[in-house]
Symmetry: C3
Subunit: 502 residues, 3 copies
Amino acid sequence: MIRFIRQVFFYCLVLCLLSLAGTQAAAGEISDATWECLDCHAVVHPGIVQGWRLSRHAATSPSEAMQVQGLGRKISSTDVPGELSETVVGCAECHVLRPDKHADTFEHNGYLVHTAVSPDDCGVCHDTERDQYRQNIMSHARGNLLDNAVYQDLMTSINGTPVRRGQELGIEPSGPETEAESCLYCHGTRLEVAGTELRETVMGEMEFPVIAGWPNQGSGRINLDGSKGSCAVCHTRHQFSMAEARKPDTCAECHIGPDVPAVKVYKASKHGTIYASHNDSWDFSPTPWTVGQDFTAPTCAVCHISLITDTEGEVVAERTHALSPRLPWRIFGLIYAHPQPASPDVTSIVNKDGLPLPTALDGTPASDFLIGKKEMDKRKTAMQGPCLACHDQGLVREHWTRFENTIERTNRATLTATELMQEIWTKGYATGPASGASLFDEYVEKVWSDSWLIQANHIRLASAIAGGGDYGVFAEGRYELNGKIRELHDWLRLRDGLQADR
Amino acid sequence: MIRFIRQVFFYCLVLCLLSLAGTQAAAGEISDATWECLDCHAVVHPGIVQGWRLSRHAATSPSEAMQVQGLGRKISSTDVPGELSETVVGCAECHVLRPDKHADTFEHNGYLVHTAVSPDDCGVCHDTERDQYRQNIMSHARGNLLDNAVYQDLMTSINGTPVRRGQELGIEPSGPETEAESCLYCHGTRLEVAGTELRETVMGEMEFPVIAGWPNQGSGRINLDGSKGSCAVCHTRHQFSMAEARKPDTCAECHIGPDVPAVKVYKASKHGTIYASHNDSWDFSPTPWTVGQDFTAPTCAVCHISLITDTEGEVVAERTHALSPRLPWRIFGLIYAHPQPASPDVTSIVNKDGLPLPTALDGTPASDFLIGKKEMDKRKTAMQGPCLACHDQGLVREHWTRFENTIERTNRATLTATELMQEIWTKGYATGPASGASLFDEYVEKVWSDSWLIQANHIRLASAIAGGGDYGVFAEGRYELNGKIRELHDWLRLRDGLQADR
Amino acid sequence: MIRFIRQVFFYCLVLCLLSLAGTQAAAGEISDATWECLDCHAVVHPGIVQGWRLSRHAATSPSEAMQVQGLGRKISSTDVPGELSETVVGCAECHVLRPDKHADTFEHNGYLVHTAVSPDDCGVCHDTERDQYRQNIMSHARGNLLDNAVYQDLMTSINGTPVRRGQELGIEPSGPETEAESCLYCHGTRLEVAGTELRETVMGEMEFPVIAGWPNQGSGRINLDGSKGSCAVCHTRHQFSMAEARKPDTCAECHIGPDVPAVKVYKASKHGTIYASHNDSWDFSPTPWTVGQDFTAPTCAVCHISLITDTEGEVVAERTHALSPRLPWRIFGLIYAHPQPASPDVTSIVNKDGLPLPTALDGTPASDFLIGKKEMDKRKTAMQGPCLACHDQGLVREHWTRFENTIERTNRATLTATELMQEIWTKGYATGPASGASLFDEYVEKVWSDSWLIQANHIRLASAIAGGGDYGVFAEGRYELNGKIRELHDWLRLRDGLQADR
């Protein structure tokens, strides 16, 4: 009885709260099923319910959204199922969608609910974005990492626990908990139903699935319907904000560290300092997004993803959730910078040395698996669209010249580092690929990997983002790159000297 | 005469300024004594006076504040002295309070004034917070550091000036100026009256006390009334803002560096990126603070300190200025992570090796001085309250499982590093504890201390704050941790080889 | 015909857009010449045109600006040419100014236009600021770096590409593209007309000059009229915002990296955390800028540049675009901290060793080229003006005592490092100045340069900015400084041991 009264009270409260949100919610009706969710979850999970209330989803039905034509349209599907189209997009609309597709579907208060909403669920209304995202290398981030023997070796050397084995230093492999909060935090876990459990809740005891790999919002997460990725990586549940995805801090979740310091570099660039000083007067919500009118300097999304128009309404850049249409070069994460891979699934790449890498250890690209000059030019042109909305052709061309010079220079430095490393392996001062040993488990090998995984990446990102200055020089830039290569050389020559003395 | 006219002019100006602030100040009257302070200080120190004008203190009297009952109440004392209760809390209310308790009390224009206001002063109105803060390990930060022989050794190795002594590298001890802006900047100086001095002021020559150790707002500062700490460390004088203390940047003053990178990690976490994108639409002022309604992602204060309610008004987490009620594990600053100490004063801790550390060098906890399983569970439950306002039990449990896995793994890595260090000491390649030498004054010892003081802390904080990704991997994370331990190993084996060659 | 219609359409659109900006633009008329620019550029470069629309320049004519007298005046010239004074400051007013002075002047639609607007152009209306900036060491940043043989050696070691030459590690010199995005990104490129080119534009084929060194907004850029610097380095074109220059992120573009981490340190200081928490309620626009009323904690500009008044309207600090009037010490970028140079052009400095450095390798200052005690005291007094608007004399004096103690201590540590380096050179373990070799091209030399170029700078900036705590200790602070010097010592002793074993 008390529970019943409590429930009635909850219901009234929710009604009351939602009526307060009248200006937003007036435009659309909430489905009965979502009302039932809110009945409890507005109280037990107020944070996410309130977040949702602030969303467009809570204010608009698909049928209303589909009435918008042209560049302002936010819903790409033209065939949203009738039962979804007339109410706003609430809890039930996503968590009860496609129940037969999700391995975690369970009976919950009379509904077949699943916990982990996937890009294929989102794709019911946003099919273009879903399709584009499948072509995004980020959606393959898990397989591209885990199915690569060289990177498996690197991961073990990083995530394993060092232990002493006699006079040697061994490594105890990591487990799923460590992986989930290190590499796979961004690359994505594989979600799997590991069983069910009973939980005590405010509504009494209830049964829920136990999902291994959860939580995770890695960009390459393997979902329980087999789809890849998570839209929440950039559009955090349950506000699913476009504005959020347009702000650079959002990208920082995966692109701040020294191996891929994009946002760090951006914040020290001219564009980033303009953003910092003026973004409070910008408008991050309109679709399309108008350069000059809505913002006066690019964020990450402006250059890489968003639909941008000029003040005349002409398209400056087309929206792409694949990213690749504006990316000619791949400048981080691998030993050498190289043209983007032709397929977002890079697991089939083999270089001339037989290694699963897009370049050989001497830098030769595995060209059969990479895009060609013509495609690179096309992507460069697309990428430069937003630049030309503020800058003249000469400036943009010179920026690009500097960037490609930096690619060439950093690749050249990496070649020097790699030749030194190979001499060290050849002379037996460290154990290397010839003996089947790890490339990454000795101190001197870390000095080598630093030079390309940290410093060369920093320098190239600083160049690409025009964040030159300190991030291209002292902050893991050229000063550190030259320092690392000199350390390799010094290390090698000391051992040469010791060898000679014997 | 000119001075008199000037003073009248000042007075009018202040009246005028304060009347402009009418909407705030209307609620309370300013005491005569505070009017006298403002008479001059509004002009000679306009920055702090204006800051105070923006405060709640300038707008509310204790008697008004005490009329608020329930969770919205901001003043915890029930027995504020009558002479303080009817006027707003201005200059005189704090700086003339308890004059006989403060060693820096001096006669100033007819008042017995003290410069350094202490937690015991604040406690006249906020006694619960004062009492809680006494139980906060942060209020003992000075003694816990300075009264520990191992940490004294570490401090000397850091703050001392390296000098050459023949073929050896010596260290010249630092002085109070260096200490005040390094370790004691956060841990707290000891304030002491070092004499008095005459100063030329706009009001003519005046006498003031000279306070050694001032300025300082370290969390464990020893005040001139014998109390510990400074409320201004989080609630900066003279605005004393609750909103400020709820924002993560405030914590950054002491929790940004590589030994304790909490805010750095937070900013790259999902919660931190939501904060960055949306905090301009949040409300940081209400008491209590309602999840979902006032904010949609936690800041540092949400998880560790603030009184949080749900939209029904139910308490999600109780306010604590002790912090410990929500802290089961101590994850940074020491060699190994371990259960929180039982007392905030940790100076009596002795481990099984006889060292004043909460774990032995092999990781064995000094359990007699640490909280037990039951208390840890209670604190874990309190800590998870805010998590469960947005997330389901399964997600929260898995987060905790990953966190405790990381504690275990990083402790295991630290054991490996420490065993290598001990072998180095035993073999005489470095001078260590057996000969009474410093643990921290040789290069290889720094490689060892890096591994636990920098990298293991980074990894655990990244795990705790769910800021995984780069800060758990490349940015002083597992990549660097393994690198340091391999450097230790390589360093040791090189010397083994040289020894064998002799 | 289509082009004509399009052009008419553009014109209407621009009119329309500008009428929307009525509240701002009403105050001033746009010149016919600028209308002609806008006719096309509002469409082809909407980003910069909209930025300009948000500027004061777009809303005010010089004659209106000159009507303001006293501290609120923003235009320092008293003799603005008549043809400029009655219209707002638009495209043509700057880009068609002084055509005979600019080497890049070209005919463009009937106008003699130049691309790169210089401080001497800005100086037509802002002559005081132009004159002050000429005395700013930042305007000499290019020559001071490039015309110094020691720094040339350092630059080569940083920006050159390491290559293997037999058993040696050589360095391939960098080129202008690398320089432009590394050191010269901040220090400034030399702009030079390298020819002309035809470009396809929306208006058909047009001829433009090709400017080598462009783009660049380094503070010491050499312009095509021979002037030095770029006002856009702090007041980004085309909004030219005073508010922007007053925010710390703007300074971060050149002052964030480890060699000069001013903004990084500021953000972890008490002042920086107040800024982070409260700046959204501050007013960055007024002239003069009133402490307490407009802001409650200093930004970079408050202490170093801006005209600050108190709430009475009394001047707390005078505006200076030279910076030097508030800078007694030079604390970064050189081997030892020392009094500021007497002239902003430091190329004539020679120390007692004959090197072009303001101190000898043993720290002895080249006093003939540096300011004396009296000038230092005068600058210290000016610098402390803003401090005293919030703090008492005792606090400010103690801050300064700590700062000068830190200068002395870090210089002492640098002396130890340098003596170790000299012993290494003398013993031939590295090749040094005696043999005419580079001071910076070997690993151990980098350990030495780290100690003063990175760590000592960090510690001094943390001290100066009262950002003590972690940035003075662990984050490239004293912990790392002592670590580097111990590494130097360990490196040297290992080689001594090997030598003895031979």
